[in-house]
């Protein structure tokens, strides 16, 4: 708290709008570079759709592989937004303020990316929309709502709609701000988008109420999305590693772990790229890291509960699966990497205040978490399928093909690309939140000491 500097509103505007009004030099080359990667990725996806899923490394019985893993991974990342914005907003955590926009953005873009994976992973993607969306009543067949694969798009599209609204509502004051500072076509665009925002008390009240309502309404959706994703796996009694009651909360807490870590990664990048040192401060990293220690430990607890009760059954196939998952090559190597990167290294380091306040270390540790979390999903999905099942002569492991790896790379590039594109037109740190926090912060005298204090409203 000591390093906080008083920043007046003019400076806030100038610095935080530099992405829009004073685009940095690195922006265009980076976007073009990423754009090329994205286009190549789309070409590869097109190639795969054109040739069929034979170009992947999937086989029988490993019918789901890297695509579903990556789908779960991106849905997990998307849990950052609501965790940071909604929950911390409802619990009035002050340090959330500069992070909210970036987190919501990450939610929207990672959901958009996640949605693509089940689509391209289907055998006949061109039919998905036609068969899964329940508009063709003439066929007389409604989609099978018992299938988690129907619940999935419903939950995800609800979440996407809600997050987009949430993002937009929080963007309105800043759009008004931008409208007043731009010329020409940009001004026209912001005028339309700002929906006549003038910042009068009624509008502020509506904006605040809208934000709180959306936060509260989004919470159940937030929980349901990853729960339903987990039920994709948990409802199958035949797959020992999947049929576990703990999956829903386990996935949700893991998603929060990876999502909040992704936000940390993003914050570090934002601080470096746009030089927002006065706004994204070490104290924010510190608070997020402390939150992450709690989340990560809860997640680890769930991991062990899952393992213990797998052992508890004492069923031979279940034990064999765990042996495969933990003790046999190459899964044992992955398991160690997963445990080290997902928990031991980052949380071990976050215990030290000097690490929590060190942006570079926070960047790398949070990146580690997401490597670990991706591996976690991979280690749930693939060994569950490639285990030795009775009555089968094909026991096979799975090796993702080059096509699959490049689509994974594409997805990362695609999210980054969308983010950068967004940053050209909209501020990544909410200006009004920043200004509000400046007003709420005060000092209070207790005896001889002067202590930082925060204003809480009462009616």
């Amino acid at each position: 708290m000591q390093q906080r500097r008083v920043i007046d509103q003019v400076e806030t505007n100038r610095v935080l709008l530099n992405g829009q009004l004073d685009t940095p030099k690195w922006w265009l080359p980076t976007v073009i570079g990423l754009g090329i990667v994205v286009i190549i990725g789309f070409v590869i996806i097109g190639f795969m759709v054109n040739r069929g899923l034979g170009v992947t490394g999937l086989s029988r019985p490993v019918y789901w592989g890297l695509f579903i893993t990556t789908f779960v991974f991106w849905v997990g990342i998307s849990h950052a937004g609501i965790m940071i914005s909604a929950i911390l907003r409802l619990t009035q955590a002050e340090w959330r303020r500069p992070v909210t926009r970036a987190a919501e953005l990450l939610t929207v873009f990672s959901l958009l990316t996640a949605l693509i994976f089940p689509l391209i992973h289907a055998g006949r993607p061109w039919r998905i929309a036609y068969w899964i969306l329940p508009y063709d009543f003439a066929r007389g067949i409604f989609p099978n709502i018992r299938s988690p694969l129907i619940m999935d798009p419903v939950a995800i599209s609800t979440y996407l709609t809600g997050s987009t609204l949430f993002l937009y509502v929080a963007l309105l004051p800043d759009l008004g701000n931008l409208r007043d500072r731009t010329q020409g076509w940009q001004k026209a665009m912001y005028t339309v988008l700002a929906l006549g925002w003038r910042g009068n008390p009624r509008q502020w009240k509506l904006q605040t109420v809208g934000g709180i309502l959306l936060s509260a309404l989004m919470l159940p959706i937030f929980v349901s999305v990853h729960s339903i994703v987990s039920w994709d796996f948990a409802v199958t009694p035949a797959v020992e590693g999947w049929h576990s009651t703990i999956f829903a909360p386990y996935f949700v807490i893991g998603a929060v772990h990876s999502g909040v870590s992704a936000v940390v990664t993003m914050m570090a990048l934002m601080r470096w790229l746009w030089k927002w040192d006065d706004f994204i401060r070490p104290e924010h990293f510190d608070a997020l890291a402390r939150l992450l220690i709690v989340v990560a430990t809860a997640w680890l607890g769930f991991t062990f509960l899952e393992l213990i009760f797998a052992m508890y059954s004492l069923d031979a196939p279940e034990i064999a699966l765990r042996e495969l998952q933990i003790f046999s090559w190459p899964w044992n190597m992955m398991f160690v990497v997963f445990l080290m990167t997902g928990y031991v290294i980052p949380v071990g380091m976050w215990l030290f205040k000097s690490v929590r306040n060190n942006i570079a270390l926070m960047f790398w540790t949070s990146l580690f978490v997401n490597i670990g979390m991706w591996l976690e999903r991979f280690m749930i999905i693939v060994p569950g399928l490639s285990r030795r099942t009775p009555f089968v002569y094909t026991w096979d492991s799975y090796r993702p093909s080059l096509v699959e790896w490049s689509i994974l790379v594409w997805s990362v590039a695609w999210v980054t690309f969308l983010m950068l594109l967004f940053s050209r037109f909209f501020p990544l740190v909410p200006l009004f939140e920043q200004k509000e926090s400046q007003i709420f912060v005060d000092r209070i005298k207790i005896g001889r000491a002067s202590v930082p204090a925060i204003l809480r409203e009462q009616e």
Binding site: S59, A122, A238
Partner: protein, 241 residues
């Protein structure tokens, strides 16, 4: 369908017959190596006992047409469903290829077409005109030779008589030299399969999963062969009721 494991010699004739009957794409070396071969029925081999007192046992496995099929509720598009005759039906036109059903199947009898099926020119005319050729991107599995069932029912209807037991046979059954496979109507208490179901050798695969299959197996348990029983138990669940 009843499978008499004691009679099975493991000759694989059923596998071949099924391949020909149902236009199953050729399982080339490449497909085998990538574990993408398709075989609606397959014969698994188990060793019973310890050398030298050892015996090979064969067990043909095909879609079990479960009454309580794990593959059915998970399909988002109703591409697989249960029909009134108790069969588990795969509707190729509806299938979008999520492969969720295959993950749900404990018997691993569902197959995905990773590639468009191709036959050498010389075999083009050998395809069965009664059976759809599945395009790439969809699931397929044993249909109990549903085209033969439909043809049999139509024939009986046109002749104005009820269907006789044993009139409809599946391709695998036709090819079986030891009559280990028997197809019939379990709803008819006098049919051959109903008689076989009463046998004390009756069991179903993976009984504990509660799938309630319509394919059942007959196997004699040698009381002296503890090992055989145990290995069977671990493979097939607590099969014997």
């Amino acid at each position: 369908m009843a499978v008499d494991v004691d009679k099975c010699t493991g000759c694989q004739a059923c596998v071949l017959a099924c391949q020909v009957e149902n236009n199953i794409p050729l399982n080339t070396q490449d497909r085998f190596e990538r574990n993408r071969s398709i075989a609606w029925i397959r014969v698994e081999r188990y060793w019973e006992g310890e050398f030298p007192d050892i015996k090979a046992r064969f067990i043909p496995i095909m879609c079990q047409h479960c009454e309580n099929a794990p593959c059915e509720p998970v399909c988002p598009v109703f591409a697989t469903y249960h029909n009134a005759e108790g069969m588990n039906i795969q509707v190729y036109n509806r299938c979008v290829g999520t492969r969720y059903c295959a993950n749900g199947c404990p018997y691993i009898v569902r197959f995905f077409n990773y590639w468009e099926p191709v036959w050498p020119e010389s075999l083009r005319n050998h395809l069965n005109p009664d059976v759809t050729i599945r395009s790439r991107g969809i699931m397929e599995k044993c249909s109990f030779c549903v085209h033969r069932i439909r043809r049999g029912v139509r024939k009986a209807d046109s002749e104005g008589r009820p269907l006789n037991d044993g009139e409809i046979t599946t391709a695998c059954q036709d090819s079986c030299s030891t009559d280990a496979l028997v197809f019939g109507d379990l709803n008819d208490p006098n049919s051959k399969v109903s008689e076989m179901k009463k046998s004390d050798r009756y069991y179903t695969l993976l009984h504990h999963l509660g799938t309630n299959p319509n394919v059942f197996y007959l196997a004699k348990i040698d009381e002296d062969r503890e090992v055989a029983h145990a290995s069977h138990e671990s493979e097939g669940g607590d099969g014997h009721e």
